[in-house]
Amino acid sequence: MIQVTALNKVYTVPKRGEGLWGSIRSLFSREVEEVRAVADLSFSIQAGERVGFLGPNGAGKTTTLKMLAGLLVPSSGERVVAGFDPSKRDPAFLRRITLVMGQKQQLLWDLPPIETFALNRALFGLDEAEARRTQDELIELLELGPLLNRPVRNLSLGERMKCELAAALLHRPDVLFLDEPTIGLDVRAQGTVRRFIAEWNERSGATVLLTSHYMADIAALCPRVIVIAGGALRYDGPLKDLAERYGGGRKVVVRTRDEAPETLGPFTREDGALVARLPSAEVAAAVDFALRQVAVADLSIEEPPLEDVLSKLFAERS
Protein backbone atom coordinates (compact mmCIF):
# COMPACT_ATOMS: atom_id res chain seq x y z
CA MET A 1 0.00 0.00 0.00
CA ILE A 2 2.92 2.30 0.76
CA GLN A 3 6.26 1.84 -0.95
CA VAL A 4 9.16 4.18 -0.20
CA THR A 5 12.53 3.84 -1.90
CA ALA A 6 15.65 5.90 -1.14
CA LEU A 7 13.63 8.96 -0.19
CA ASN A 8 15.52 12.19 0.45
CA LYS A 9 14.46 15.66 1.48
CA VAL A 10 16.89 18.54 1.75
CA TYR A 11 15.67 21.94 2.93
CA THR A 12 17.57 25.11 2.26
CA VAL A 13 17.20 27.31 5.30
CA PRO A 14 18.35 30.94 5.31
CA LYS A 15 21.05 31.53 7.88
CA ARG A 16 20.32 34.64 9.86
CA GLY A 17 22.95 36.69 11.59
CA GLU A 18 22.71 37.31 15.28
CA GLY A 19 21.35 40.54 16.68
CA LEU A 20 20.25 43.66 14.85
CA TRP A 21 23.41 44.07 12.78
CA GLY A 22 23.32 40.43 11.74
CA SER A 23 19.70 40.78 10.69
CA ILE A 24 20.49 43.83 8.58
CA ARG A 25 23.42 42.03 6.99
CA SER A 26 21.33 39.00 6.12
CA LEU A 27 18.91 41.29 4.30
CA PHE A 28 21.60 41.81 1.70
CA SER A 29 23.66 38.68 1.62
CA ARG A 30 21.60 35.62 2.27
CA GLU A 31 23.63 32.70 3.37
CA VAL A 32 21.77 29.46 3.10
CA GLU A 33 22.27 26.26 4.91
CA GLU A 34 21.24 22.84 3.71
CA VAL A 35 19.37 20.72 6.19
CA ARG A 36 18.90 17.08 5.35
CA ALA A 37 15.53 16.19 6.87
CA VAL A 38 15.18 12.73 5.37
CA ALA A 39 18.09 10.61 4.18
CA ASP A 40 17.81 7.53 1.98
CA LEU A 41 14.69 6.27 3.65
CA SER A 42 13.18 3.03 2.37
CA PHE A 43 10.34 0.91 3.70
CA SER A 44 7.11 -0.66 2.59
CA ILE A 45 3.78 -1.13 4.34
CA GLN A 46 1.12 -3.66 3.45
CA ALA A 47 -2.59 -2.87 3.22
CA GLY A 48 -4.33 -2.92 6.61
CA GLU A 49 -1.14 -2.71 8.67
CA ARG A 50 -0.84 -0.43 11.70
CA VAL A 51 2.68 0.94 11.85
CA GLY A 52 4.20 3.25 14.46
CA PHE A 53 6.58 5.83 13.05
CA LEU A 54 8.98 6.85 15.79
CA GLY A 55 11.87 9.22 16.20
CA PRO A 56 13.05 12.17 18.28
CA ASN A 57 11.87 15.70 17.54
CA GLY A 58 13.19 16.84 14.18
CA ALA A 59 13.89 13.29 13.04
CA GLY A 60 11.98 13.82 9.80
CA LYS A 61 8.74 12.01 10.71
CA THR A 62 6.38 14.83 9.78
CA THR A 63 8.40 15.61 6.66
CA THR A 64 8.08 11.98 5.57
CA LEU A 65 4.35 11.89 6.25
CA LYS A 66 3.88 15.09 4.27
CA MET A 67 5.85 13.69 1.35
CA LEU A 68 3.66 10.59 1.43
CA ALA A 69 0.51 12.74 1.52
CA GLY A 70 1.69 14.80 -1.47
CA LEU A 71 2.19 18.02 0.49
CA LEU A 72 5.95 18.14 0.04
CA VAL A 73 8.03 17.31 -2.97
CA PRO A 74 11.00 15.06 -2.13
CA SER A 75 14.49 16.07 -3.25
CA SER A 76 14.97 12.59 -4.65
CA GLY A 77 13.66 9.06 -4.28
CA GLU A 78 10.52 7.18 -5.12
CA ARG A 79 7.27 6.72 -3.27
CA VAL A 80 4.06 5.06 -4.24
CA VAL A 81 0.97 5.34 -2.06
CA ALA A 82 -2.19 3.39 -2.92
CA GLY A 83 -0.80 3.03 -6.43
CA PHE A 84 -0.27 6.76 -6.96
CA ASP A 85 2.63 9.17 -7.09
CA PRO A 86 1.59 11.56 -4.30
CA SER A 87 3.31 14.61 -5.89
CA LYS A 88 0.71 14.73 -8.65
CA ARG A 89 -2.03 15.28 -6.07
CA ASP A 90 -4.44 13.38 -8.28
CA PRO A 91 -7.98 13.87 -6.89
CA ALA A 92 -8.42 10.09 -7.03
CA PHE A 93 -5.34 9.80 -4.78
CA LEU A 94 -6.56 12.45 -2.34
CA ARG A 95 -9.85 10.58 -1.99
CA ARG A 96 -7.94 7.51 -0.79
CA ILE A 97 -5.77 9.08 1.89
CA THR A 98 -6.15 11.33 4.89
CA LEU A 99 -3.79 13.21 7.16
CA VAL A 100 -4.65 14.12 10.72
CA MET A 101 -2.33 16.48 12.55
CA GLY A 102 -2.58 16.81 16.30
CA GLN A 103 -1.15 20.30 16.19
CA LYS A 104 -3.24 21.71 13.38
CA GLN A 105 -6.91 21.65 12.66
CA GLN A 106 -9.12 21.77 9.63
CA LEU A 107 -12.40 22.33 11.50
CA LEU A 108 -14.09 25.63 10.71
CA TRP A 109 -13.39 27.58 13.87
CA ASP A 110 -16.57 29.63 14.16
CA LEU A 111 -19.03 26.94 13.09
CA PRO A 112 -20.22 23.69 14.68
CA PRO A 113 -18.29 20.57 13.54
CA ILE A 114 -21.32 19.35 11.59
CA GLU A 115 -20.68 22.19 9.11
CA THR A 116 -17.11 21.04 8.45
CA PHE A 117 -18.51 17.56 7.84
CA ALA A 118 -21.03 19.00 5.36
CA LEU A 119 -18.28 20.94 3.58
CA ASN A 120 -16.01 17.91 3.34
CA ARG A 121 -18.83 15.73 2.02
CA ALA A 122 -19.29 18.25 -0.79
CA LEU A 123 -15.57 18.81 -1.49
CA PHE A 124 -14.91 15.08 -1.70
CA GLY A 125 -17.96 14.67 -3.93
CA LEU A 126 -19.34 11.89 -1.73
CA ASP A 127 -22.54 10.06 -2.35
CA GLU A 128 -24.92 11.70 0.09
CA ALA A 129 -26.58 8.57 1.50
CA GLU A 130 -23.33 6.67 1.89
CA ALA A 131 -21.51 9.65 3.42
CA ARG A 132 -24.34 10.10 5.91
CA ARG A 133 -24.00 6.46 6.94
CA THR A 134 -20.24 6.89 7.47
CA GLN A 135 -20.87 10.10 9.36
CA ASP A 136 -23.40 8.44 11.66
CA GLU A 137 -20.99 5.58 12.25
CA LEU A 138 -18.20 7.99 13.19
CA ILE A 139 -20.52 10.04 15.40
CA GLU A 140 -21.50 6.89 17.25
CA LEU A 141 -17.97 5.50 17.61
CA LEU A 142 -16.50 8.78 18.78
CA GLU A 143 -19.56 9.78 20.80
CA LEU A 144 -19.83 13.11 19.06
CA GLY A 145 -23.61 13.47 19.46
CA PRO A 146 -23.59 16.29 22.03
CA LEU A 147 -20.77 18.19 20.29
CA LEU A 148 -22.16 18.42 16.80
CA ASN A 149 -23.99 21.69 17.14
CA ARG A 150 -21.57 23.62 19.33
CA PRO A 151 -19.14 26.05 17.66
CA VAL A 152 -15.70 24.48 17.40
CA ARG A 153 -14.11 27.31 19.37
CA ASN A 154 -16.21 26.26 22.40
CA LEU A 155 -14.98 22.65 22.33
CA SER A 156 -12.18 21.26 24.48
CA LEU A 157 -8.96 20.03 22.88
CA GLY A 158 -10.02 16.39 23.25
CA GLU A 159 -13.45 17.07 21.78
CA ARG A 160 -11.90 18.92 18.87
CA MET A 161 -9.52 16.05 18.17
CA LYS A 162 -12.39 13.58 18.01
CA CYS A 163 -14.19 15.85 15.54
CA GLU A 164 -10.98 16.25 13.51
CA LEU A 165 -10.78 12.48 13.17
CA ALA A 166 -14.38 12.26 12.01
CA ALA A 167 -13.90 15.10 9.50
CA ALA A 168 -10.79 13.39 8.14
CA LEU A 169 -12.44 9.98 7.72
CA LEU A 170 -15.79 10.84 6.13
CA HIS A 171 -14.49 9.81 2.71
CA ARG A 172 -13.39 6.42 4.06
CA PRO A 173 -9.74 6.69 3.03
CA ASP A 174 -7.64 3.56 2.61
CA VAL A 175 -4.52 5.14 4.09
CA LEU A 176 -4.48 7.09 7.36
CA PHE A 177 -1.49 9.28 8.17
CA LEU A 178 -1.83 10.27 11.81
CA ASP A 179 0.72 12.80 13.03
CA GLU A 180 0.64 12.88 16.83
CA PRO A 181 -3.13 12.57 17.08
CA THR A 182 -3.06 12.37 20.88
CA ILE A 183 -0.72 15.28 21.58
CA GLY A 184 -1.80 17.41 24.52
CA LEU A 185 -4.78 15.20 25.36
CA ASP A 186 -5.52 13.96 28.87
CA VAL A 187 -5.20 10.26 29.66
CA ARG A 188 -8.87 9.51 29.12
CA ALA A 189 -9.08 11.34 25.80
CA GLN A 190 -5.88 9.58 24.68
CA GLY A 191 -7.52 6.25 25.48
CA THR A 192 -10.63 7.18 23.50
CA VAL A 193 -8.62 8.20 20.45
CA ARG A 194 -6.48 5.04 20.68
CA ARG A 195 -9.46 2.71 20.96
CA PHE A 196 -11.11 4.51 18.08
CA ILE A 197 -8.08 4.14 15.78
CA ALA A 198 -7.86 0.42 16.53
CA GLU A 199 -11.59 -0.04 15.99
CA TRP A 200 -11.60 1.94 12.74
CA ASN A 201 -8.64 -0.03 11.41
CA GLU A 202 -10.51 -3.27 12.16
CA ARG A 203 -13.74 -2.06 10.57
CA SER A 204 -12.41 -0.37 7.46
CA GLY A 205 -9.22 -2.33 6.91
CA ALA A 206 -7.42 0.97 6.35
CA THR A 207 -3.64 1.17 6.57
CA VAL A 208 -2.43 3.30 9.48
CA LEU A 209 0.90 5.08 9.79
CA LEU A 210 1.04 6.80 13.15
CA THR A 211 3.56 9.05 14.85
CA SER A 212 3.40 9.72 18.56
CA HIS A 213 5.65 10.56 21.45
CA TYR A 214 3.37 8.67 23.82
CA MET A 215 4.66 5.12 24.00
CA ALA A 216 1.28 3.97 25.29
CA ASP A 217 -0.16 4.85 21.87
CA ILE A 218 2.47 2.81 20.11
CA ALA A 219 2.25 -0.14 22.49
CA ALA A 220 -1.53 -0.25 22.16
CA LEU A 221 -1.78 0.26 18.42
CA CYS A 222 1.30 -0.73 16.50
CA PRO A 223 2.54 -4.31 16.16
CA ARG A 224 5.23 -2.94 13.87
CA VAL A 225 7.40 0.14 14.29
CA ILE A 226 9.71 2.11 12.04
CA VAL A 227 12.28 4.19 13.90
CA ILE A 228 14.14 7.04 12.27
CA ALA A 229 16.67 9.48 13.69
CA GLY A 230 18.43 12.24 11.83
CA GLY A 231 16.26 11.40 8.83
CA ALA A 232 17.70 7.89 8.47
CA LEU A 233 16.17 4.52 9.19
CA ARG A 234 17.27 2.96 12.50
CA TYR A 235 14.88 0.10 12.96
CA ASP A 236 12.03 -1.50 11.06
CA GLY A 237 10.34 -4.54 12.55
CA PRO A 238 8.05 -5.93 15.23
CA LEU A 239 7.67 -3.80 18.34
CA LYS A 240 8.43 -6.75 20.62
CA ASP A 241 11.81 -7.37 18.99
CA LEU A 242 12.76 -3.76 19.49
CA ALA A 243 12.93 -4.21 23.25
CA GLU A 244 14.83 -7.43 22.76
CA ARG A 245 17.46 -5.87 20.56
CA TYR A 246 17.93 -2.48 22.12
CA GLY A 247 16.50 -2.75 25.61
CA GLY A 248 19.37 -4.85 26.97
CA GLY A 249 16.89 -7.69 27.47
CA ARG A 250 14.43 -8.35 30.26
CA LYS A 251 15.16 -7.39 33.80
CA VAL A 252 14.90 -10.28 36.29
CA VAL A 253 14.75 -9.15 39.95
CA VAL A 254 15.02 -11.69 42.77
CA ARG A 255 14.46 -10.64 46.38
CA THR A 256 15.91 -13.13 48.83
CA ARG A 257 14.78 -14.01 52.39
CA ASP A 258 18.32 -13.66 53.69
CA GLU A 259 20.91 -11.17 52.63
CA ALA A 260 21.69 -11.61 48.97
CA PRO A 261 25.20 -12.53 47.86
CA GLU A 262 27.26 -10.02 45.89
CA THR A 263 26.96 -12.08 42.73
CA LEU A 264 25.14 -15.26 41.80
CA GLY A 265 25.46 -16.75 38.34
CA PRO A 266 24.20 -14.07 35.94
CA PHE A 267 22.90 -11.94 38.86
CA THR A 268 24.56 -9.04 40.64
CA ARG A 269 23.33 -7.25 43.75
CA GLU A 270 21.54 -3.93 43.26
CA ASP A 271 19.70 -2.20 46.12
CA GLY A 272 19.74 -5.41 48.17
CA ALA A 273 18.17 -7.53 45.42
CA LEU A 274 19.67 -9.81 42.80
CA VAL A 275 19.29 -8.32 39.34
CA ALA A 276 20.10 -9.67 35.87
CA ARG A 277 19.36 -8.27 32.41
CA LEU A 278 18.95 -11.11 29.96
CA PRO A 279 17.68 -11.95 26.48
CA SER A 280 14.22 -13.59 26.67
CA ALA A 281 15.61 -17.02 25.83
CA GLU A 282 17.84 -17.10 28.91
CA VAL A 283 15.30 -15.84 31.44
CA ALA A 284 13.76 -19.21 32.32
CA ALA A 285 17.10 -20.84 33.01
CA ALA A 286 18.25 -17.94 35.19
CA VAL A 287 15.05 -18.01 37.26
CA ASP A 288 15.37 -21.76 37.66
CA PHE A 289 18.97 -21.32 38.77
CA ALA A 290 18.08 -18.65 41.35
CA LEU A 291 15.23 -20.73 42.81
CA ARG A 292 17.66 -23.59 43.41
CA GLN A 293 20.45 -21.49 44.90
CA VAL A 294 18.71 -19.08 47.29
CA ALA A 295 15.51 -18.80 49.33
CA VAL A 296 13.39 -16.52 47.14
CA ALA A 297 10.97 -14.05 48.78
CA ASP A 298 9.81 -12.32 45.63
CA LEU A 299 10.53 -12.51 41.94
CA SER A 300 9.72 -10.23 39.03
CA ILE A 301 10.49 -10.12 35.33
CA GLU A 302 10.21 -6.67 33.73
CA GLU A 303 10.12 -5.60 30.12
CA PRO A 304 12.39 -2.62 29.63
CA PRO A 305 10.28 0.57 29.39
CA LEU A 306 9.77 1.48 25.74
CA GLU A 307 10.91 5.01 26.47
CA ASP A 308 14.31 3.71 27.61
CA VAL A 309 14.66 1.48 24.60
CA LEU A 310 13.94 4.34 22.27
CA SER A 311 16.16 6.90 23.93
CA LYS A 312 18.98 4.39 23.64
CA LEU A 313 18.18 3.91 19.98
CA PHE A 314 17.86 7.64 19.31
CA ALA A 315 21.18 8.34 21.00
CA GLU A 316 23.01 5.73 18.96
CA ARG A 317 25.00 7.20 16.12
CA SER A 318 24.77 5.64 12.74
Binding site: Y11, T62, T63, K66, A69, G70, L71, L72, V73, R89, P91, A92, L94, R95, I97, T98, L99, M101, Q103, K104, Q105, Q106, L108, D110, L111, E115, A118, L119, N120, R121, A122, L123, F124, G125, P151, D179, E180
Partner: protein, 259 residues
Protein backbone atom coordinates in the same frame (compact mmCIF):
# COMPACT_ATOMS: atom_id res chain seq x y z
CA UNK B 1 -21.74 18.89 -11.30
CA UNK B 2 -19.65 18.07 -8.27
CA UNK B 3 -17.74 21.33 -8.85
CA UNK B 4 -21.00 23.23 -8.47
CA UNK B 5 -21.73 21.32 -5.26
CA UNK B 6 -18.27 22.21 -3.92
CA UNK B 7 -18.66 25.89 -4.74
CA UNK B 8 -22.12 26.00 -3.19
CA UNK B 9 -20.80 24.29 -0.04
CA UNK B 10 -17.92 26.78 0.27
CA UNK B 11 -20.29 29.72 -0.16
CA UNK B 12 -22.66 28.23 2.38
CA UNK B 13 -19.89 27.86 4.98
CA UNK B 14 -18.83 31.47 4.36
CA UNK B 15 -22.37 32.74 4.71
CA UNK B 16 -22.88 30.79 7.94
CA UNK B 17 -19.63 32.21 9.33
CA UNK B 18 -20.71 35.74 8.45
CA UNK B 19 -24.05 35.19 10.11
CA UNK B 20 -22.36 33.92 13.26
CA UNK B 21 -21.12 37.42 13.81
CA UNK B 22 -24.62 38.81 13.43
CA UNK B 23 -23.52 41.13 10.68
CA UNK B 24 -26.67 42.99 9.89
CA UNK B 25 -27.80 42.82 6.32
CA UNK B 26 -29.44 46.22 6.59
CA UNK B 27 -26.33 47.75 8.13
CA UNK B 28 -24.34 46.49 5.17
CA UNK B 29 -26.84 47.93 2.69
CA UNK B 30 -26.76 51.33 4.44
CA UNK B 31 -22.94 51.25 4.39
CA UNK B 32 -22.85 50.38 0.70
CA UNK B 33 -25.17 53.23 -0.24
CA UNK B 34 -23.28 55.74 1.94
CA UNK B 35 -19.99 54.50 0.49
CA UNK B 36 -21.28 54.87 -3.08
CA UNK B 37 -22.38 58.40 -2.27
CA UNK B 38 -18.97 59.33 -0.86
CA UNK B 39 -17.24 57.82 -3.86
CA UNK B 40 -19.19 60.05 -6.22
CA UNK B 41 -18.74 63.25 -4.22
CA UNK B 42 -15.29 64.19 -5.65
CA UNK B 43 -16.75 63.69 -9.11
CA UNK B 44 -19.46 66.28 -8.55
CA UNK B 45 -16.98 68.67 -6.95
CA UNK B 46 -14.71 68.50 -10.01
CA UNK B 47 -17.47 68.63 -12.61
CA UNK B 48 -18.92 71.61 -10.82
CA UNK B 49 -15.83 73.47 -12.05
CA UNK B 50 -15.71 72.17 -15.61
CA UNK B 51 -18.41 70.60 -17.80
CA UNK B 52 -16.09 68.01 -19.28
CA UNK B 53 -12.78 66.56 -18.24
CA UNK B 54 -10.48 65.15 -20.90
CA UNK B 55 -13.58 64.53 -22.97
CA UNK B 56 -15.61 62.92 -20.17
CA UNK B 57 -18.97 64.33 -19.08
CA UNK B 58 -20.33 63.89 -15.56
CA UNK B 59 -22.54 60.93 -16.51
CA UNK B 60 -19.77 59.19 -18.38
CA UNK B 61 -17.41 59.61 -15.46
CA UNK B 62 -20.19 58.34 -13.24
CA UNK B 63 -20.12 55.08 -15.20
CA UNK B 64 -16.42 54.79 -14.36
CA UNK B 65 -17.27 55.27 -10.70
CA UNK B 66 -20.03 52.66 -10.99
CA UNK B 67 -17.61 50.05 -12.31
CA UNK B 68 -15.16 51.14 -9.63
CA UNK B 69 -17.75 50.46 -6.93
CA UNK B 70 -18.52 47.05 -8.42
CA UNK B 71 -14.81 46.17 -8.48
CA UNK B 72 -14.45 47.32 -4.92
CA UNK B 73 -17.40 45.16 -3.89
CA UNK B 74 -15.75 42.15 -5.47
CA UNK B 75 -12.50 43.05 -3.71
CA UNK B 76 -14.19 43.29 -0.33
CA UNK B 77 -16.42 40.26 -0.74
CA UNK B 78 -14.13 37.78 -2.46
CA UNK B 79 -10.56 38.95 -2.85
CA UNK B 80 -9.59 40.50 0.44
CA UNK B 81 -11.04 38.03 2.99
CA UNK B 82 -9.65 35.11 1.02
CA UNK B 83 -6.23 36.71 0.80
CA UNK B 84 -6.09 37.25 4.54
CA UNK B 85 -7.21 33.67 5.12
CA UNK B 86 -4.58 32.20 2.78
CA UNK B 87 -1.79 34.21 4.39
CA UNK B 88 -2.94 32.91 7.75
CA UNK B 89 -3.07 29.33 6.38
CA UNK B 90 0.47 29.57 5.04
CA UNK B 91 1.82 31.12 8.22
CA UNK B 92 0.27 28.47 10.46
CA UNK B 93 0.72 25.55 8.10
CA UNK B 94 -3.00 24.76 7.89
CA UNK B 95 -2.67 25.27 4.14
CA UNK B 96 -1.90 21.54 4.21
CA UNK B 97 -5.60 20.87 4.62
CA UNK B 98 -6.36 22.89 1.49
CA UNK B 99 -3.97 20.73 -0.51
CA UNK B 100 -5.52 17.56 0.87
CA UNK B 101 -8.89 18.31 -0.68
CA UNK B 102 -9.59 16.72 -4.08
CA UNK B 103 -10.53 20.08 -5.61
CA UNK B 104 -8.43 22.61 -7.47
CA UNK B 105 -6.52 24.47 -4.76
CA UNK B 106 -6.65 27.80 -6.61
CA UNK B 107 -10.42 27.59 -6.84
CA UNK B 108 -10.64 26.56 -3.21
CA UNK B 109 -8.60 29.47 -1.85
CA UNK B 110 -10.46 31.90 -4.11
CA UNK B 111 -13.76 30.98 -2.53
CA UNK B 112 -13.19 29.47 0.88
CA UNK B 113 -13.53 32.62 2.95
CA UNK B 114 -15.87 35.09 1.30
CA UNK B 115 -18.04 37.81 2.77
CA UNK B 116 -21.20 37.50 0.70
CA UNK B 117 -22.89 40.50 2.32
CA UNK B 118 -20.27 42.79 0.80
CA UNK B 119 -21.66 41.89 -2.60
CA UNK B 120 -24.31 44.50 -1.80
CA UNK B 121 -21.68 47.00 -2.99
CA UNK B 122 -21.83 45.37 -6.40
CA UNK B 123 -25.59 45.83 -6.53
CA UNK B 124 -25.23 49.51 -5.65
CA UNK B 125 -22.42 49.87 -8.22
CA UNK B 126 -24.61 48.22 -10.84
CA UNK B 127 -27.30 50.77 -9.96
CA UNK B 128 -24.86 53.64 -10.58
CA UNK B 129 -23.79 52.07 -13.90
CA UNK B 130 -27.43 51.60 -14.90
CA UNK B 131 -28.15 55.26 -14.19
CA UNK B 132 -25.11 56.35 -16.22
CA UNK B 133 -26.02 53.96 -19.04
CA UNK B 134 -29.46 55.50 -19.28
CA UNK B 135 -27.97 59.01 -19.29
CA UNK B 136 -25.60 58.21 -22.17
CA UNK B 137 -28.27 56.25 -24.06
CA UNK B 138 -26.38 52.99 -24.18
CA UNK B 139 -27.90 50.35 -26.46
CA UNK B 140 -27.87 46.55 -25.96
CA UNK B 141 -24.57 46.14 -27.86
CA UNK B 142 -22.87 48.73 -25.64
CA UNK B 143 -24.32 47.15 -22.51
CA UNK B 144 -23.18 43.70 -23.54
CA UNK B 145 -19.66 44.75 -24.45
CA UNK B 146 -19.39 46.81 -21.24
CA UNK B 147 -20.44 43.76 -19.20
CA UNK B 148 -17.97 41.53 -21.00
CA UNK B 149 -15.19 44.03 -20.42
CA UNK B 150 -16.14 44.32 -16.77
CA UNK B 151 -15.73 40.57 -16.36
CA UNK B 152 -12.41 40.77 -18.20
CA UNK B 153 -11.41 43.45 -15.69
CA UNK B 154 -12.51 41.37 -12.73
CA UNK B 155 -10.58 38.39 -14.12
CA UNK B 156 -7.56 40.65 -14.19
CA UNK B 157 -8.11 41.75 -10.63
CA UNK B 158 -8.37 38.14 -9.55
CA UNK B 159 -5.18 37.29 -11.44
CA UNK B 160 -3.31 40.10 -9.69
CA UNK B 161 -4.62 38.75 -6.43
CA UNK B 162 -3.49 35.23 -7.29
CA UNK B 163 0.02 36.48 -7.98
CA UNK B 164 0.04 38.21 -4.59
CA UNK B 165 -1.14 35.03 -2.89
CA UNK B 166 1.48 32.99 -4.73
CA UNK B 167 4.15 35.28 -3.36
CA UNK B 168 2.88 34.41 0.12
CA UNK B 169 4.61 31.05 -0.29
CA UNK B 170 7.93 32.85 -0.60
CA UNK B 171 7.50 35.82 1.72
CA UNK B 172 4.78 34.55 4.09
CA UNK B 173 3.60 37.98 5.22
CA UNK B 174 1.96 39.59 2.21
CA UNK B 175 -1.15 41.21 3.69
CA UNK B 176 0.41 44.56 2.86
CA UNK B 177 0.47 43.77 -0.83
CA UNK B 178 -3.30 43.70 -0.78
CA UNK B 179 -3.12 47.39 0.16
CA UNK B 180 -1.05 47.95 -2.96
CA UNK B 181 -3.80 46.43 -5.11
CA UNK B 182 -6.30 48.53 -3.21
CA UNK B 183 -4.34 51.74 -3.72
CA UNK B 184 -3.93 50.86 -7.40
CA UNK B 185 -7.64 50.22 -7.75
CA UNK B 186 -8.35 53.50 -6.00
CA UNK B 187 -6.68 55.30 -8.90
CA UNK B 188 -9.23 53.59 -11.11
CA UNK B 189 -12.09 55.71 -9.89
CA UNK B 190 -11.04 58.32 -12.47
CA UNK B 191 -10.92 57.68 -16.21
CA UNK B 192 -7.40 56.58 -17.11
CA UNK B 193 -7.18 59.23 -19.83
CA UNK B 194 -7.03 61.82 -17.04
CA UNK B 195 -3.62 60.58 -16.03
CA UNK B 196 -0.44 61.41 -17.89
CA UNK B 197 2.91 59.90 -18.65
CA UNK B 198 4.25 57.32 -16.27
CA UNK B 199 1.12 56.89 -14.14
CA UNK B 200 -0.98 56.34 -17.22
CA UNK B 201 1.49 53.79 -18.50
CA UNK B 202 1.42 51.93 -15.20
CA UNK B 203 -2.38 51.99 -14.95
CA UNK B 204 -2.74 50.71 -18.50
CA UNK B 205 -0.02 48.11 -18.76
CA UNK B 206 1.49 47.22 -15.36
CA UNK B 207 -1.43 47.34 -12.96
CA UNK B 208 -4.10 47.58 -15.63
CA UNK B 209 -6.75 49.02 -13.36
CA UNK B 210 -8.02 51.03 -16.33
CA UNK B 211 -9.26 47.78 -17.76
CA UNK B 212 -11.43 47.29 -14.69
CA UNK B 213 -13.15 50.69 -14.70
CA UNK B 214 -12.38 52.90 -17.69
CA UNK B 215 -12.69 50.41 -20.54
CA UNK B 216 -16.17 49.17 -19.59
CA UNK B 217 -17.24 52.82 -19.28
CA UNK B 218 -15.81 53.54 -22.74
CA UNK B 219 -17.71 50.57 -24.08
CA UNK B 220 -20.86 51.97 -22.54
CA UNK B 221 -20.27 55.22 -24.46
CA UNK B 222 -19.85 53.16 -27.60
CA UNK B 223 -16.38 54.61 -28.06
CA UNK B 224 -14.33 51.51 -27.61
CA UNK B 225 -12.81 50.18 -30.79
CA UNK B 226 -13.55 46.47 -31.22
CA UNK B 227 -9.81 45.87 -31.53
CA UNK B 228 -9.17 47.55 -28.18
CA UNK B 229 -11.96 45.58 -26.57
CA UNK B 230 -10.58 42.36 -27.97
CA UNK B 231 -7.10 43.36 -26.86
CA UNK B 232 -8.39 43.95 -23.33
CA UNK B 233 -9.90 40.47 -23.26
CA UNK B 234 -6.67 38.95 -24.51
CA UNK B 235 -4.75 40.79 -21.78
CA UNK B 236 -7.18 39.47 -19.16
CA UNK B 237 -6.76 35.89 -20.39
CA UNK B 238 -2.98 36.37 -20.54
CA UNK B 239 -2.91 37.62 -16.95
CA UNK B 240 -5.05 34.69 -15.84
CA UNK B 241 -2.55 32.35 -17.51
CA UNK B 242 0.43 34.05 -15.87
CA UNK B 243 -1.36 33.90 -12.52
CA UNK B 244 -2.01 30.19 -12.97
CA UNK B 245 1.67 29.56 -13.69
CA UNK B 246 2.75 31.66 -10.70
CA UNK B 247 0.34 29.69 -8.55
CA UNK B 248 1.45 26.21 -9.65
CA UNK B 249 5.11 27.20 -9.39
CA UNK B 250 4.75 28.47 -5.85
CA UNK B 251 2.81 25.38 -4.82
CA UNK B 252 5.89 23.38 -5.72
CA UNK B 253 7.89 25.63 -3.48
CA UNK B 254 5.45 25.32 -0.57
CA UNK B 255 7.36 23.96 2.36
CA UNK B 256 4.57 23.89 4.93
CA UNK B 257 5.22 25.19 8.44
CA UNK B 258 7.01 22.37 10.23
CA UNK B 259 4.91 20.54 12.77
Amino acid sequence: MSLGVSIAALMRASLLTTMRYRASFFGEVAMAVAWAFWTTVPLFVVFDQAPTLAGWTTEEALAVVGFFIIAQGVLEALVDPNLRAVVEHVRQGTFDFVLLKPIDAQLYVSLHRTEPLKLVHCVVGAGVVAYAAKAVDAGPVELLSATLLMFAGLTLLHSLWTVVVSSAFFFVKVDNLSWLIRAGLDAGRWPVSLYRGFVRFVLTFVLPIGLVTTYPALALRGELKPSTGLGAMVIAVLFAGVARIAWTQSLRRYSSASS
